[in-house]
């Protein structure tokens, strides 16, 4: 047995609760920082402000003028949920650009020498982009209301519809975080919107019912998570949903399918983003 008594050593060992609290504090600081960026350059926000208004009006008046929905129904009523999901999907590329920019400018070196939680850089980014997505949803909804779109269900269902869409947008934000870290810089990140997000948004039931597509494309579109989310919103808003007659499981259970898709994407993208961040910042 040792005769000496060990001296108490001062070790920095915060409790799990303290850790969580300081982690959240870091996340909030990073979120606020990203929001200041947006305020400083409002044009950065154009993809969640001006673009939704433009797209909504363009698609409803240009496409809608020639569109007859199978099974009846007003195109405006049909298209709004689709435009909501399309705008949310394409605007998530902002996460990829923002993160790619942060990683290639000097500020990341400053952050990495601070005793902050490294994950708060990623989480702060996705939360500020979720807030931007909420703004985007509000603008689409207001544009829709202004031109005569009306939900026919109760407020709880309407809110649930927006909730499903925002959860999906949050999942895509994490996917974009991964893409943003996998590419070299902000310019390459910009390319992602065309390569990944546009096909994802367009090969779906967002603008047109899938029934008229070639069989193979129809299968892809019916299983595209974007179709599930658009259908879920149509169901929850009480708007026409021609996809309801399609036998594919996601079209029969759009709300469940949307939630499963979102959670599955998050389950893959969140840990992957952490790994990519560590890999990106090792040297």
């Amino acid at each position: 047995m040792s005769a000496t008594t060990a001296l108490p050593v001062r070790v920095y060992a915060p409790s799990p609760f303290e850790r969580l609290r300081s982690w959240w504090a870091d996340v909030w600081v990073m979120t606020r920082r990203n929001l200041i960026h947006i305020r400083r350059e409002p044009m950065q926000l154009s993809d969640v402000t001006i673009q939704p208004v433009l797209f909504t009006l363009l698609f409803i008046y240009v496409f809608g003028s020639a569109m007859v929905l199978a099974g009846g129904g007003n195109y405006k009523e049909f298209a709004l949920a689709g435009l909501l999901v399309m705008n949310l999907t394409t605007s998530t590329v902002g996460t990829a650009i923002g993160l790619a920019t942060d990683l290639t400018t000097g500020v990341i070196d400053r952050l990495r020498t601070l005793p902050m939680s490294p994950t708060s850089i990623l989480v702060g980014r996705t939360i500020s982009d979720l807030l931007a997505a909420a703004l985007c949803s509000t603008i689409v909804a207001l544009t829709g209301l202004a031109i005569g779109w009306r939900p026919t269900t109760g407020p709880a269902e309407v809110l649930a519809g927006f909730g499903v869409a925002l959860l999906f947008s949050f999942a895509l934000t994490w996917l974009n975080a991964c893409l943003g870290m996998a590419v070299a810089g902000a310019e390459s990140a910009q390319g992602i919107v065309f390569i990944v997000m546009f096909p994802l948004a367009f090969v779906s039931n967002v603008f047109v019912p899938t029934q008229g597509m070639p069989a193979w494309l129809q299968t892809i579109a019916n299983w595209n998570p974007v179709s599930a989310v658009a259908s879920a919103c149509r169901v929850l808003f009480g708007n026409p949903n021609p996809s309801g007659s399609i036998q594919a499981w996601p079209m029969q259970h759009p709300v469940e399918a949307s939630l499963i898709w979102s959670i599955a994407i998050l389950a893959v993208a969140v840990p992957l983003a952490g790994r990519l961040y560590r890999k990106r910042t090792r040297d």
Binding site: D26, E41, G106, V107, I108
Partner: protein, 325 residues
């Protein structure tokens, strides 16, 4: 070991592709002192700073800052250090004040504390007037000052400054030196990399000269100057004299430089006791009359040139001549 070492590197190595950026570097910095790390561009100075500040992992060797291993205890190291890199690490879209408050909050200060500290530092660095302007519009000198302020927010006991005065005008440089001296007076341990020999001479307690990733010399500025073993001899004759050059050449390590009017001789000589007397006697025997004789300690420039093989004196003289012509 009597003195506590705040920074310690043992056989620290890092390779980038073909380049050996650091090659088994051993260095230590006692608490409360300044180590000047001197070397030409690409010598490995910045790599050293990046490893010690946990930004880059070494390939070999180990290092401790404030007693914590930089690889295995990186979060603990980050609580003890302040860093100002060569490139500004500021958020361009935030104001100066917002930058400092953000750094403070991420360094575990409460918001109110962070705001108070930010105001203090803005005052200290004479940035109060620009505090609420976006950094994008700052001048180079203002950015440097704000960047240094950002590394001081949490009052770190160990500070790393990577070429803090590169690109500053002479006045800003003097001011920066004043700030650095003040910090060390408060007991901060400082790792200062620089390309400027006068800066290392003026500020550092000890200097390590790095070239091609290796420490090629270290010691106090005085030790380094003595270590080259050479001094600069300057003789002014009353009238030009044919035998003077030959008399001086007997002591010279290199060529004897004769001025156009034939009265001034300059050469590098080996240090030895009673040198002036001996040279004077030799000139007297040659029949030359001497107005003035002086033996100078070499400047750090001369030391640096001797160590790295780079002829900085010749280069700067060429520049001066170019300007005068």
């Amino acid at each position: 070991m009597n003195q506590q070492m705040m920074i310690e590197a043992v056989a620290l190595s890092k390779r980038y592709g073909e380049t050996q950026a650091l090659d088994k570097v051993d260095l230590e910095v006692p608490a409360g002192s300044i180590l000047g790390v001197l070397g030409p561009n690409g010598a490995g100075k910045t790599t050293g700073v990046r490893i010690l500040t946990t930004l880059t992992a070494p390939d070999g060797g180990r290092a401790w800052v404030a007693g914590h291993d930089v690889v295995h205890e990186a979060p603990a190291v980050r609580r003890e250090i302040g860093v100002t890199g060569q490139d500004a690490t500021l958020d361009e879209a935030l104001t100066g004040r917002q930058n400092l408050v953000m750094v403070g909050q991420l360094s575990r200060l409460r918001r109110s504390q962070a705001r108070r500290r930010a105001a203090e530092l803005l005052e200290l660095f004479e940035l109060t007037d620009a505090a609420d302007r976006v950094v994008k519009g700052y001048s180079g000198g203002m950015r440097r000052r704000l960047d240094l302020a950002a590394s001081l927010v949490k009052r770190p006991p160990v500070l790393f400054l990577d070429e803090p005065t590169t690109g500053l005008d002479p006045t800003s440089r003097q001011r920066m030196w004043g700030v650095i001296r003040g910090l060390v007076a408060e007991g901060v341990t400082l790792w200062l990399t620089t390309q400027y020999l006068d800066e290392a001479d003026a500020l550092a307690d000890r200097i390590a000269v790095i070239d091609h990733g290796r420490v090629i010399a270290q010691g106090t500025p005085r030790e380094l100057k003595a270590a080259t073993g050479s001094q600069l001899l300057e003789v002014t004759l009353t009238d030009p004299h044919g035998g003077a050059s030959a008399a001086v050449a007997a002591f010279a390590l290199g060529a004897v430089n004769l001025s156009d009017d034939g009265r001034r001789l300059r050469t590098v000589v080996r240090s030895q006791a009673g040198l002036s007397t001996t040279v004077l006697r030799a000139l007297d025997q040659a029949g030359a009359r001497v107005d003035d004789i002086a033996v100078h300690q070499p400047s750090l420039d001369d030391v640096f040139a001797a160590l790295t093989g780079a002829d900085t004196t010749a280069e700067s003289e060429a520049i001066v001549e170019g300007v005068l012509a």
